[in-house]
């Protein structure tokens, strides 16, 4: 349990310096209910936006409707009882063949104030991979969203300059999608031919 007061002191702003409260017990998971309750209070459209909640291996994941992600991030950052000031990562995942909305976007949020971590997850289809950019709330998401666009073709609407970040500008395709081939050529070494990695034996 946290020794956080009901209303944090005025100094605990998200820009004007943060103050941390020590956790009484080191166990993770103590705060999951508090985060869930605080968000449902702070965010009016909570029931519509949150699809389901997963607690697995001591980590909390809120699955958010893709079109609501910006509003949820705004509440997560600004509400006094939440204060997730830091978005440390935005990454894409491709659940090809296991989820009809196969492209997921995963946001790792950290509250410096309360020493808490939460993961937000959204899903979009490969046919219409659009969702709002969170750069207006978390400026750190800028390059991360560009990477997710570059590797998965996920379009973040409202991003200031959504261009490829790692691959060349004229690259075709989205390399980290599961249906994108690894490529490679067979290599001959001392008379033996080694096939490209995607054609070698599988380690089942």
């Amino acid at each position: 349990m946290l020794r956080a007061p009901a209303t944090p002191p005025a100094s605990a702003g998200w820009c004007g310096g943060t103050r941390r409260w020590a956790t009484r017990s080191g166990r993770s998971g103590d705060y999951f209910d508090e985060v869930y309750d605080a968000l449902s209070e702070a965010y009016p459209a909570f029931a519509d936006a949150i699809e389901h909640v997963v607690v697995d291996r001591g980590e909390l994941t809120l699955h958010v409707k893709s079109e609501r992600i910006l509003e949820v991030c705004q509440a997560m950052r600004d509400d006094e009882a939440l204060r997730f000031e830091l978005c440390s990562s935005v990454s894409g995942v491709d659940y090809l063949a296991s989820d009809p909305r196969r492209l997921h976007v995963v946001y790792q949020l950290t509250s410096m104030t309360y020493r808490r971590r939460v993961r937000l997850e959204t899903a979009v289809t490969a046919e219409d991979p659009r969702l709002p950019s969170v750069t207006s709330v978390y400026p750190t998401a800028d390059w991360q969203e560009r990477e997710a666009y570059d590797m998965f073709g996920i379009v973040f609407e409202g991003h200031p300059a959504l261009t490829r970040i790692l691959m060349p500008d004229d690259w075709e395709g989205y390399p980290q999608r599961k249906d994108y081939p690894l490529g490679g050529v067979p290599v001959e070494y001392k008379g033996a031919e080694i096939p490209p990695p995607d054609q070698r034996r599988s380690y089942q």
């Binding site: 390399p175 994108y180 990695p197 995607d198």
Partner: protein, 325 residues
């Protein structure tokens, strides 16, 4: 008198004198002293082959005179598609890739990857304390080696070549420990899902102990050198008093303020603080040389035996507070 510093003019007893940079002086004279290209924007490509970018970064700079007004960073030169490659391999083979993600911090990437795989498999509590202790030991050595490269190369880029020589000399010592332990100086793939590639040998423990005795003296040398006016002080000229400061990272900021008050510039103060971060603290557990038992067939506590072989003193002996100055 023109206020434009790139085409300045001044009145002298011999008439008006123009200082012209970047334009044809005839043009300057014909326009009555105004440099016709003074507001021209120039796009300059910096890197990826520029020496200061280490071959990994390209910056497209937009300049007005000597002022950078816009920059576009092109960062993909080191992208190697590690995630895509691991899609086609098994969990253990992943170590070989992640160790190459950052050649200055291979053990950290290996450990982060191994911990993630172990958590996914639900075997976190099956990792022996000995393996975890060696992981931490290796990470700490790796951290020091990485900082030494930072200190050395930054010194080099600021003109303090001896700092580079010192930094790489001590880093070599740590790489020797890595070679004794894992067989390789970098890209070790030593931390694996489930534990380690192999146990740490007794010679490596001896070498680490020697290093802990030897390194604080070297830190003293670095500090003495960086404090000297000829050290990093040159880097601070021009930045002092312009309001530029280090990142306000909690403790460092406070300590940095104290160093600044002592008359040191930001680069110098920052370097000294980072050197302080390398200080090796001896704990009681370390003095006893306990790494925890190897979970072997005979159940013998090999860690203690190994420490004895390596000549460790029993607990309680040695300096009273167990700390190096």
């Amino acid at each position: 008198m023109s206020t434009d510093s790139y085409a300045a003019s001044r009145e002298t007893t011999e008439g008006r004198v123009f200082t012209v940079t970047g334009g044809d002086w005839m043009d300057v004279l014909s326009t009555g002293g105004e440099d016709p290209i003074h507001d021209e924007r120039i796009v300059v490509n910096l890197g990826p082959q520029h020496p200061s970018t280490h071959g990994v970064l390209r910056l497209v700079l937009e300049l007005e005179g000597e002022t950078v007004t816009e920059v576009r960073a092109v960062i993909g030169y080191l992208h190697t598609g590690i995630e895509k490659n691991i899609e086609f391999r098994n969990w253990v083979q992943g170590s070989t890739f992640v160790t190459r993600m950052d050649y200055l911090a291979p053990i950290f990437n290996e450990t982060a990857y191994a911990l993630a795989v172990e958590r996914l498999l639900g075997i976190t509590d099956q990792i022996t304390p000995r393996a975890n202790t060696i992981r931490v030991l290796m990470m700490e050595l790796n951290r020091i080696a990485s900082h030494l490269v930072w200190l050395g190369t930054t010194g080099l880029e600021l003109g303090a070549i001896s700092m580079m020589l010192y930094g790489f000399r001590e880093r070599e010592y740590i790489l020797d420990i890595f070679e004794m332990t894992a067989g390789l100086r970098m890209n070790m793939a030593y931390v694996r899902p489930g534990g380690l590639a192999q146990d740490i040998p007794a010679e490596a423990i001896t070498k680490i102990r020697e290093f802990i005795g030897y390194f604080p003296k070297k830190l003293k040398e670095y500090e003495d050198m960086l404090r000297r006016p000829a050290g990093l002080a040159r880097a601070d000229q021009g930045s002092r008093g312009t309001g530029r400061d280090r990142l306000p990272v909690a403790g460092r900021h406070r300590a940095g303020t104290a160093l600044r008050r002592a008359g040191l510039g930001p680069a110098q103060a920052d370097a000294l603080l980072r050197v302080r971060g390398l200080r090796v603290r001896r704990t009681d557990g370390h003095r006893r040389g306990r790494l925890g038992p190897v979970r072997g067939a005979d159940g013998r506590d090999a860690g203690v035996a190994e420490a004895r072989r390596a000549g460790a003193r029993p607990a309680g002996a040695g300096s009273r507070d167990g700390r190096r100055p």
